[in-house]
Symmetry: C2
Subunit: 331 residues, 2 copies
Amino acid sequence: MNITIYDIAQKCHVSIATVSRVLNGSSRVSEKTRAKVLKVMKEMGYKPNPFARGLGLDSMKIIGVICTDVADIFYAHAVSLLEDGLRKHHFDVMLSNTGSDTGHNGKYISDMAGKHVDAIITIGTPFSSESDVRLLCETARQIPVITINSDYHQPRMYSVVCNERDGMKDVVAALANKGCQHILYIYNSLTYSGRHKLDGFRQGIKELNLPHKAELIQQTPRTLTDTEALIDRLVAGNVDFDAIVTSDDIFAVGAQRAALRHGLDIPVIGCNNSILAECATPTLTSLDNKLTNLCAAAVNIVTELTTKGADAVPIRTEFNAELVERESFTT
Amino acid sequence: MNITIYDIAQKCHVSIATVSRVLNGSSRVSEKTRAKVLKVMKEMGYKPNPFARGLGLDSMKIIGVICTDVADIFYAHAVSLLEDGLRKHHFDVMLSNTGSDTGHNGKYISDMAGKHVDAIITIGTPFSSESDVRLLCETARQIPVITINSDYHQPRMYSVVCNERDGMKDVVAALANKGCQHILYIYNSLTYSGRHKLDGFRQGIKELNLPHKAELIQQTPRTLTDTEALIDRLVAGNVDFDAIVTSDDIFAVGAQRAALRHGLDIPVIGCNNSILAECATPTLTSLDNKLTNLCAAAVNIVTELTTKGADAVPIRTEFNAELVERESFTT
DNA sequence: TTGTACGCGTTATCAA
DNA sequence: TTGATAACGCGTACAA
């Protein structure tokens, strides 16, 4: 079996309480015994048992992170940023991949809650069905829930978002400013982020009095080939467009490639400013949703909740999006 | 506070032992009391405390997964596959991002071990310094360590690898078969995988009696711009090459783009068969290292270790690589 | 400054 | 088939 504080105490001729005290640094222990205990700990290779500690404190310094798919480059980046930030504050990360928002992802929430994580951070929109959302809100009553790019307006839920709606409006304005009239918008799903981007696009079109035809707003599966096929169909159907905006870089890659194949050398703008935008030829201009800021804010909330308390923490944190210009479009 | 088995026991007029028994299903309990206990559990919304359980069993069904960077598309994919597979077997995943192989990553190992994870899975080469490797091997004596694309040949360490060496030899052969003589190889670091690919490349060159010049093997930082700059320098320096092979798709993207800029329409082959290969124009042929198989095997090892026992589990599992052909090269 | 004793929620080992 | 009780390792009042 493992070394326990009892072993240390025995070897040091002190009580377990004393050992526990030097372990937690807090209470007052004579410098002499502290040194001795620390020395013996190191010698014996003592490691505190996290279960026992957790049992008393009801905390194991683990944060649950939930997203639909870490294999997706965007979520992967977010998880990476969160992990780095949390680790700096001595939190571990338990990862949960829901697969996709099936409407029956509640089990992931209760699993996490059952494991007694110290907080839950969701990225994107892993939960949208009524039952899932309800469960999430109930869970929030017991442990803090931080949502990145979602907002449920519930007690003990902390929302961190990027204002992609206004960002998208600016994109439309920038394109219009260059003379584009018929902007094609390609998206995949109506997540929180997806809805706001689409709203922003529509609003931009409206405010600038650009022609808005239904055929200029298209939905597509999340693959390159589907997106290319979509462009092929539109061209074949004589749908006119002089610019393309997409809700994710991946669609922009496919759309741009297909457009160029048809001789359409038009502005293309993606979203998320991922490595994919840099891999495309020409490189893609992309609307950056400031993931670094979002994740840093989420980490901040976690730490401040434990140090300061629930009231000292903002329930909503919002950042502006930023257009990162590359070859596919410059203002 | 939460509901405990004491509460359930009291309400059912039975002892906690009985409650514990129905909880674990194992021991014999009369159907009548079992039903009653289960009913009350549901009524009161009882959730077993994982810490207390962990304290007794010294296990919380958590697997530690360690890699250098989840933000990297390859590791992200691996983590995703592992998470999915492990969750199906009711394991949770604790993620640890070392950042890069600094030679001082031992703390991540002891952290994991200290958290009493049930096993550790490493992806790639997060540990290579002597001290880190020693620590990893020592840790393996206490908890199983499964290494994906690494091999330390130590007791209680289970290695799952892809034979990229032979895969790379085949790549060279395929290029030579098409008449390529001066193949440029671009890599980043000498991880386990990196070493084997480079070895395979060298061996392929040698066995086919192709000219091997030092300047045809180049190292580069892991960025697109650096890789493009590398090609620019080589071209400016009149280094002749008629094909490019790279240790990762990201380098292939940059190299191909730069080469095309210089009018060099030559075969380009990447590694890992990631989405990046599909985003490039032309799309990139890539050596797939069968990550899906590797991760499935790792998950298998974890589950079989607990069910069957250490001796029933293979200490080394090897898969073949596979060349996935796209526009940048076809055999 | 230090030590004693109890609680945390479960599992497991005895008896009954 | 059940029940009482001892671990499991740590934190912490309370006492000394």
